[in-house]
């Protein structure tokens, strides 16, 4: 090869950090401009085709969300925080809203609780479908890329009917929700659920039961129960390792304690179990949506603190269009001093917010622990020992979402 020692000096860039790696090792940078990476980089060192070391390198889409939140009024933080996982918008902001509610010592009316659960589950389905689509294309299965993305449209459309926006719904606000279900929503949701149930069978046949896919996934990227607990990973990845942990049953929030649903657990802990658990969770989410629409009580959309004193126009608007108008007080919501913590089960796992208030209109501190950030560490521990070709399979199965991790 023409690469001579002289050339090596020539291509050295100023400020370039050179690091010695083991003899016979090859350092390959997967990302951030690699077709098989998201907005992140995994530095891998390979011995032949086998990875001996992996180093996830995060932070490419860090947007200082926590700091930005300190400069905004309480209600303005919601649209900001949504941006970390726009396809999981309701789940990812719900704990923030709950934390603010805890500080204000109010509880949303029962109907609002059910409506929040409804949108959360629609978001969870959309989020899982997105993850499965990315998973599919990482395995070179183009149909599994296009189908979930196409079917996600059904649930995005459903969310649009409910909230008026396709992705950034900004649906839950302290005290309740912003809209009631529109006319004929029950039928639409039922049709969407029936379609999805049928489609999941086809997913199973073309993807999960496909021997070529099974070969790629079974016993690949195994996270043992111990390792999963030690690393503190969350969400479907944790449950695929056999740990019975789901915020919806550990610490039921909103209306989850009144709904009958199953939380699937797989003991295997490999990429195949992580693919299966998403399909099973979609099934359960459809079940929850049906129950919510059945069991939903009548009542106000917002807490009486914001609804009782509202002018008459607000009530007529709510009755005619389903829009719960916000009283002007919301713009400068003063939240009593204190610190509150709330958590919820988002599509990718547990999301935790710590909100600290100083009895002002803006939060003193908003701390977010997002699920993808907690899951990112597994790359370091489970990728070594696998082949380069397994890296996309593991990446896809973790459903890692860089904007959510980096915030």
């Amino acid at each position: 090869m023409s690469a001579s020692p002289a050339l090596k000096d020539e291509i050295k860039l100023p400020g370039m950090d050179l690091k010695k790696i083991g003899k016979d090792l090859y350092e390959v940078f997967i990302g951030p401009q690699h077709p098989g990476s998201g907005h992140m980089r995994i530095i891998i060192r390979v011995d032949g085709d086998v990875i001996v070391e992996a180093d996830p390198d995060l932070g490419y889409v860090h947007r200082t969300m926590e700091k930005l939140a300190e400069g905004r009024e309480f209600i303005k933080v919601i649209p900001l925080m949504e941006r970390m996982a726009i396809l999981d918008a309701c789940n990812i902001t719900l704990p923030y809203v709950e934390a603010v509610e805890k500080l204000m010592d109010i509880e949303p009316p029962p109907r609002a609780k059910y409506l929040r659960v409804l949108l959360c589950e629609i978001n969870r389905i959309a989020s899982h479908l997105y993850g499965m689509g990315i998973f599919g294309v990482f395995l070179g299965h183009s149909t599994m890329y296009m189908w979930p993305f196409g079917d996600r449209e059904v649930f995005v459309e459903l969310a649009e009917k409910l909230t008026g926006a396709r992705l950034t719904h900004t649906y839950a606000v302290p005290g309740g929700v912003r809209r009631d279900i529109p006319q004929g929503f029950r039928e639409m949701a039922e049709k969407a659920a029936r379609y999805m149930e049928k489609k999941l069978e086809d997913y199973k046949r073309i993807f999960l039961d496909n021997p070529a896919i099974q070969k790629r996934l079974v016993d690949v990227g195994v996270i043992s129960k111990n390792l999963a607990a030690k690393l503190g990973i969350v969400g479907p990845n944790l449950r695929a390792s056999g740990i019975r942990y789901d915020v919806r049953i550990i610490e039921p929030y909103e209306a989850y304690d009144e709904i009958d649903f199953e939380v699937p657990i797989y003991e295997e802990g490999d990429a195949y179990a992580r693919a299966w658990i998403r399909v099973m969770e979609i099934k359960q989410s459809l079940n929850i949506i049906r129950q919510v629409l059945e069991k939903m009580p009548q009542g106000d959309p917002l807490h009486e603190k914001f609804w009782a004193k509202a002018p008459k126009l607000y009530k007529t608007v709510y009755e005619t269009t389903g829009r719960a108008k916000l009283i002007p007080l919301y713009a400068n919501l003063k939240v009593p001093a204190g610190r509150a913590i709330a958590r919820a089960e988002a599509g990718r796992g547990e999301v935790i917010y710590v909100v600290e208030s100083e009895n002002k209109t803006k939060p003193y501190r908003v701390r977010v622990v997002s699920p993808s950030f907690r899951n990112a560490i597994v790359f370091k521990y489970i990728v070594p020992g696998h082949r380069i070709a397994d890296l996309p399979a593991i990446y896809g199965s973790i459903d890692y979402f860089p904007p959510e991790a980096d915030r």
Binding site: E73, K76, P79, L80, T143, G150, D151, E153, V154, E157, L158, E160, T163, G164, A165, T168, T170, R178, P182, E187, K191, A192, R194, Y195, M196, K199, D202, R205, I206, D209, N210, P211, Q214, V218, R244, D246, R248, I249, P252, Y256, E258, I259, E262, V263, P264, I265, Y266, E267, E268, A273, I277, M280, P311, V317, T321, R323, A324, L326, Y330, A331
Partner: protein
């Protein structure tokens, strides 16, 4: 009653599942090859006729505005600002909202917080501006109806839910 944990197992791989799996996958592929299920929107030849509840562009009804400034205060993106103008029937200049669509994120807070329903969403999602300055509307511009540029050459369609096909595209009439 709250949810409960259910233990599941991934299916085992045997020679039989290898054969049935291959056949099943190919059959599903053939099924969709023969009877494709697609609901692609051929924009701009077709465009979605959005629901009235859609959170689209915002329009101001000046007559109803009382100049309370709630909308400007609640705007999370600082897209809405108040300007003082002389309004008919008022003695002194009154603060009225104007909008900057460079910044607007269509969260709809302003519409929801307006105590007199002077602001309203239009079921319009895509509007073309030729330069950035045009996206900063003044009071007159804020009161004008805007419409999608696709209406000139496209036909309006609507998506309805279907248990067999997910979404089905049907022709719509412009309301």
């Amino acid at each position: 009653m709250p949810g409960k944990v259910v233990e599941k197992k991934t299916p085992k791989q045997t020679l039989l599942t290898a054969i049935t799996g291959n056949v099943g996958a190919i059959l599903v592929g053939l099924k969709y090859f023969v009877n494709p299920n697609r609901f692609t929107l051929k924009y701009p030849y077709e465009f979605i006729e959005l629901d009235e509840t859609y959170r689209g562009f915002i329009i101001l009804e000046l007559k109803k505005c009382i100049g309370c400034m709630s909308c400007a205060r609640i705007c999370p993106a600082a897209a809405m600002k108040m300007v003082k103008i002389q309004v008919e029937g008022k003695k002194r200049p009154m603060p009225v909202p104007v909008i900057n669509y460079n910044r607007c994120i269509f969260c709809g807070y302003c519409v929801d917080v307006c105590p007199t329903e002077a602001l309203a969403h239009l079921p319009v999602h895509d509007v073309v501006y030729t330069n950035m300055e045009d996206m900063v509307l003044d009071v007159d511009g804020f009161q004008k109806l805007v419409d999608t540029p696709a209406k000139d050459e496209g036909v309006p369609v609507k998506y309805v839910f279907d248990p067999e096909r997910g979404l089905v595209k049907v022709p719509a009439t412009r309301g």
